[in-house]
Symmetry: C2
Subunit: 429 residues, 2 copies
């Protein structure tokens, strides 16, 4: 049997996935067909042409697309769930920078990234866009581990040349030359699932010169970009002081030439983006990585995500470990709904709360779109699936619909109930 053969099969069970941002496709009993790693669609009666393919019988388990985590910091995984009583800027100084500095030691990185990768394999994430640290060696090692895991990821060596403690800061030129070396070394690895992404930490820690240089690298190496935007009110004020010629936080990226139509881009948070900034994001097809757990834990606020969706902006979900305490995308979906309810009730009655279908959409098709055709079982999409043994979550209700099962899994499920996981047609657990 060849590799291509193994990437072709039929999954039989209940199937739920997003049709669009408001609507779900729900099948109580159906066949999801994967051919060469690509979805052929979902059928209530298996068409003749697929009857030769191996049939995976789930026994009525629930099949949903896997989730895309659009923003997660791999080195922060080790201190997740600690230090949650403080806000962003002191939290970076106290927890983040000291931990990230440790990754200059490759043996520490090896040990720590092993735990991180295992957690991602066990969880509901199939694709992710990952911040590493500033260290080229450790970042390459992380890329190797993620490649081996079967997950599909973007991974970024972090850049920063100001406002970071001496023990962790880079100089501008060194930051750029290390990044170029890293891009070349990553290219030589011949990864099929793991791609580099240019990663200026955020405006406060990147000079314009650095960001302009990174923008050139992004274009030369055809790499996308990821960074942070408008997370916290103190941070936004700081940016306006550091970059007085800009009209918004986003404009600091525009002026540095790194936020533009020709470079695919993820901006994490966008909690406090106002009209002008929203326009910049919309015009440049930026993907917003909405991180409800992180925005709550760090008391940052709650992004007007419903409005973003209605405007047709690209929005995905993210755990943002370790501002987010958990690497579980199941939690991120649940929290997106919950945070939006409190935002609506307490802050802005005009922007409605997210519905379950909307949050599910963002975690699948919404964020998946940054990777191309991902996050759906429609024909032509990369075949990413979770097989869920959700009926083990105790209840007397044996008559739950597929849609009710999906909602219940988001509210009560965790990695214990994931009985199988397929990424781009490849079974990884």
């Amino acid at each position: 049997m060849t590799e291509r053969d193994r990437l072709s099969f039929v999954l039989h069970g209940a199937v739920v996935y997003s049709k669009d941002k408001d609507e779900m496709n729900c099948f109580e009993d159906a066949y999801a067909v994967c051919k060469d790693g690509i979805s052929e669609g979902v059928f209530t009666k298996l068409p003749e042409e697929y009857k030769e393919l191996p049939l995976i019988e789930t026994g009525g388990q629930l099949i949903i697309p896997g989730f895309t985590d659009l923003h997660i910091h791999a080195p922060q995984f080790q201190f997740r769930g600690n230090g949650m009583d403080i806000e962003l800027l002191p939290w970076l100084e106290t927890y983040t920078f000291p931990e990230e500095a440790k990754y200059s030691d490759l043996s520490y990185a090896e040990k720590a990234y092993r735990l991180f990768t295992e957690e991602l394999i066990n969880g509901a994430t199939v694709r992710a866009s990952v911040f590493a640290t500033s260290h080229r060696g450790a970042t390459l090692r992380l890329m190797e581990m993620l490649e081996e895991s079967g997950l599909v990821t973007f991974v970024g060596k972090v850049n920063m040349d100001r406002n970071v403690p001496d023990y962790y800061v880079e100089d501008t030129e060194g930051s750029l030359s290390e990044t170029e070396k890293w891009l070349n070394e990553a290219a030589k690895k011949g990864f099929s699932r793991t791609r580099p992404i240019i990663t200026p930490r955020f405006t406060p820690s990147c000079s314009r010169e650095l960001m302009t240089g990174l923008s050139e690298l992004a274009e030369r190496y055809a790499a996308p970009v990821q960074s942070h935007l408008s997370e916290n009110l103190s941070e936004i004020k700081w940016v306006s002081e550091l970059e007085p010629d800009t009209s918004s936080y986003a404009d600091s990226y525009v002026k540095a030439g790194i936020l533009k139509k020709s470079i695919p881009c993820i901006m994490a948070h966008c909690v406090w983006s106002e009209e002008e900034e929203q326009e910049i994001l919309l015009e440049n097809n930026v993907f917003i990585a909405h991180s409800p757990d992180s925005n709550t834990n760090l008391s940052s606020g709650a992004a007007p995500v419903k409005k973003y969706l209605e405007k047709g902006m690209n929005v995905g979900l993210a755990t943002d470990v370790a501002g987010g305490h958990s690497a579980s995308m199941i939690n991120a979906v649940r929290s997106a709904i919950r945070v939006s309810k409190l935002r609506n009730r307490l802050f802005d009655r005009d922007t409605k709360a997210l519905t379950f279908p909307e949050a599910f959409y963002m975690a699948t098709k919404g964020g998946g779109a940054f990777f191309g055709k991902a996050g759906s079982f429609d024909k032509g999409y990369s075949f990413d699936a979770l097989i869920l043994d959700d009926m083990r979550i105790p209840t007397t209700r044996e008559d739950l619909s597929a849609m009710e099962r999906a909602e219940r899994f988001i509210y009560l499920g965790d990695d214990r109930y994931i009985s199988g996981k397929i990424v781009a047609g490849k079974r990884i657990r």
Copy 2:
């Protein structure tokens, strides 16, 4: 060995518990001593007099008091995590009443309450105040199961004589006479851990005549009372229309004679309680069951809990299944902090967010006080403990302090990490 002997032992491990609402007692390596089910205190060096007691060696596991769930609806457990896109009043009509009506069938109740009880045994809850349904038989059966579980609980037969669908409403006289029968039958069971609590559902579904009658029963049978208060803005408006001679929602309970100093009382929610209502609660020593998950899911709002604590009001935490999606008190502690952060950031900058120690306090000593001396390892408290194998939650950090371990458990833990549970000195898992 007698029963009393079995209730005496020494637990050796790391120990964390609340000193008061702001401060924690943290021991990296200590002995928690239980004698006849009562705590003798925590010692870094085991005093001579306890050296004869059986020593339970946890191997450095984390020992904390178990949690008190001050408000949970046992019959709603079966549909938790579903129907979360709607608010309180339609949610009651669509999900709650039809499910609760099923408990007229004792064989259904048996099956459903079995799942509920098992979940509580497996989780972090050691004590709970429980709403059952209006059915005497099913409520008694639930009490038997809870008694057998080893948990310490108050359980209430629900009363309601108006604004409830025909298939589930009671008439006033029938409701009172069933309640008295239930109180007598419960007394005959000779329970040692399970006590009845008078349970008018809430003002909208209880006439003043019914509540006045229940108040008489509460005093005659020396039973406490539990109900709901100021959860949702539509509900509050409805109460003001139903009871036009009252000055606040709480006043509807005062005027019915059921909220008074001589009757211990739990009121769930108090999301929108204003000054006058807060004074009523404070003067009458009412326990507020703060239910952050429920208040979020049903878009009710976020209670000003920090203010309540600062005023010296009694506040405990609650899951409020199934407004709360999860029966896990670990989630309730985490959510209390998180919801208060969003409340502070989005709604009321003057009321600070809760800290981890405050939320931990409410889940232990705060709510535990409704049961007497519970929720602490101070000398004289009932010995309730969770033994946590929290270091199985992956991290490279082997130097975590006991306090950091407790915070991390709240953010990342679940029932998988509870390796032992002791209630009133009795090991129940």
